[in-house]
């Protein structure tokens, strides 16, 4: 259980997180979504006490993270930025972290096998690929067998097999009754693993809803209609709360009516239809819509003259 109350953090005059409140419940995977630079990593650092909030508070399992006597048994964290000394082997890295809590060596051995780093365990972590680094990070997060997992972009740099492994791992962790909080900037990834979503943009909460609700909202109720009598059809359909957008070639996009309502209206007015298709907006599109105004850095197309 993670509870944030009016959490804010500024660095100088730049606000990274602003008045964020949410509760992350155990037993499910909660996705933490937002464009790059939206404050996801800052929020995770605040949860772990690495940064102090400018105002507000956040607790893990009922207490600020700092006050736990065995923090690694409460929260296992994988941060986005590398948190490993490049000159130390994976084994010694895990061992040093384990020793702070009195976690036995055999747990270190167990995890090295579990994340598949046995062959490179004695190699210096500086030589690891991104994917191996992520696996090492996951192993450190699981050291204390924590009740809460906090993972910042865990699939970053993993190959398809690794991504599959992470998805199953997250689900099994949640099924054990643990709290699993995973950030990503990819909606499609979250749709596959998460049950619930916290969406932020520019450090503010945009949405806090279940994945099912998100999918339902995202689909909206846009219907594409093609008719040789498009102009006539538009006049028939137009009403308060109904939007009709004319596209090329006798094509209309209708919002606010279901496909059957449109079909019936057309039949009642003897209008011929060539196509009647309910549109599924992609989740990625819906996510982009939701965060469009909140993206910090927009890509601009076209050439710049200097």
């Amino acid at each position: 259980m993670i509870e944030a109350r009016n959490l804010s953090k500024s660095y100088g005059d730049k606000t990274a997180v602003s008045d964020l409140s949410f509760t992350i419940r155990p037993g499910i995977v909660t996705g933490f979504l937002g464009p790059n630079g939206s404050g996801k990593s800052t929020t995770m650092r605040l949860i772990l006490g690495l940064d102090r909030p400018s105002s507000g508070s956040v607790t893990v399992n009922g207490k600020p993270y700092r006050e736990h006597t065995a923090p690694l048994a409460e929260v296992g964290a994988l941060l986005e930025a590398r948190s490993v000394h490049t000159g130390r082997s994976a084994y010694n890295h895990l061992l040093a972290l384990a020793q702070t809590h009195g976690i036995p060596r055999r747990r270190v051995e167990e995890l090295i096998d579990m994340v598949g780093l046995r062959e490179v365990a004695k190699k210096r972590a500086g030589q690891f690929s991104l994917g191996m680094g992520q696996r090492l990070g996951i192993a450190s997060a699981l050291l204390g067998d924590p009740r809460t997992l906090l993972l910042d972009e865990p699939v970053n740099g993993l190959d398809p097999e690794g991504i599959h492994w992470i998805r199953n791992l997250l689900k099994s962790l949640a099924a054990d009754g643990r709290t699993v909080f995973v950030s990503s900037h990819l909606m499609s990834e979250m749709a596959l693993t998460a049950d619930h979503l916290i969406i932020i943009g520019r450090g503010r909460l945009i949405a806090d809803l279940s994945v099912d609700d998100f999918v339902r909202q995202a689909s909206g109720n846009l219907v594409r209609v093609r008719s040789p009598q498009a102009t006539q059809l538009r006049d028939v359909l137009i009403a308060p709360l109904v939007t009709v957008t004319a596209l090329e070639d006798g094509m209309l996009e209708v919002g606010g009516m279901t496909a059957s309502q449109i079909g019936e209206a057309a039949a009642a007015n003897s209008i011929v239809l060539h196509e009647l298709t309910p549109l599924q907006a992609s989740l990625e599109d819906a996510f982009m819509d939701l965060t469009r105004d909140e993206v910090e850095y927009h890509a601009t197309t076209g050439t710049t003259t200097t």
Partner: protein, 272 residues
Amino acid sequence: MSAVATQTPQPPLRVTQARVALSEWTKLWSLRSTRWSLFVTLLLTIGLPLLVATILSSHWGQMSPGEQASHHPLEVALVGVAIGELAIGVLGVLVISGEYSTGMIRATMTAVPKRLPVLWAKAGVFGAVTFALTLPAVLIAFFASQAILARHDILQISLSSPGATRVVIGGALYLTVTGVFALALGAIVRNTAGGIASFVGILFVIPPLMNVLPASWNNAISPYLPINAGTEIFTLNPGSGNLSTWAGFGLYCGYTAALLAVAAVLIARRDT
């Protein structure tokens, strides 16, 4: 892939100062930079006195009695300390700045979110390791250089002669405190280059700069500079105007404690 839960039941987990110290011990020895820096320190602390003793011994006959009298056997035995302290200082800075430069500090502070136990453990473990290695080193340097100088009666001194034991052990004590002094600087600056620069600046660059001040100022300030105060512990007779052995070394320890206190305040308050 089976679930994540341990197959083995775990004892109650808890962060303690002793466990953090064990963790820092593991961290210290699992890096090549540590092993190299300590090796170089020992090499300089032992090797340099042997080299100097050999040169002195072979040139002894060509020296005037006045020049012969200017050489002291304890100075020969501890000539390596003045250079070994550079290697120890660099390592002291690295012990903590290396964590900041690689990002390891985030893992460390996540495991020990109260943070200060990490600083105490680093300073304690590094100080203990430095003393445990440099004490035998200065003793070896002493006995070996004495053996090389055995033919020259006026260069013979026993550990039981007044102050001799204190001077020899003092070499190791000085290296130990210097290592912790550098570690505290590294914790304050959080950056390897900056940490080493401030260490070298404070210890080696500032003292000669004092010569541009009026002599009365220079004489009033210089004895209190860290390096001048600290080295009294392995100087047989403090020069006139200098602090006494224990006042000087006490002041050096005081500087180190003050730096550690500043580091503690900053580590506890800063974002990591």
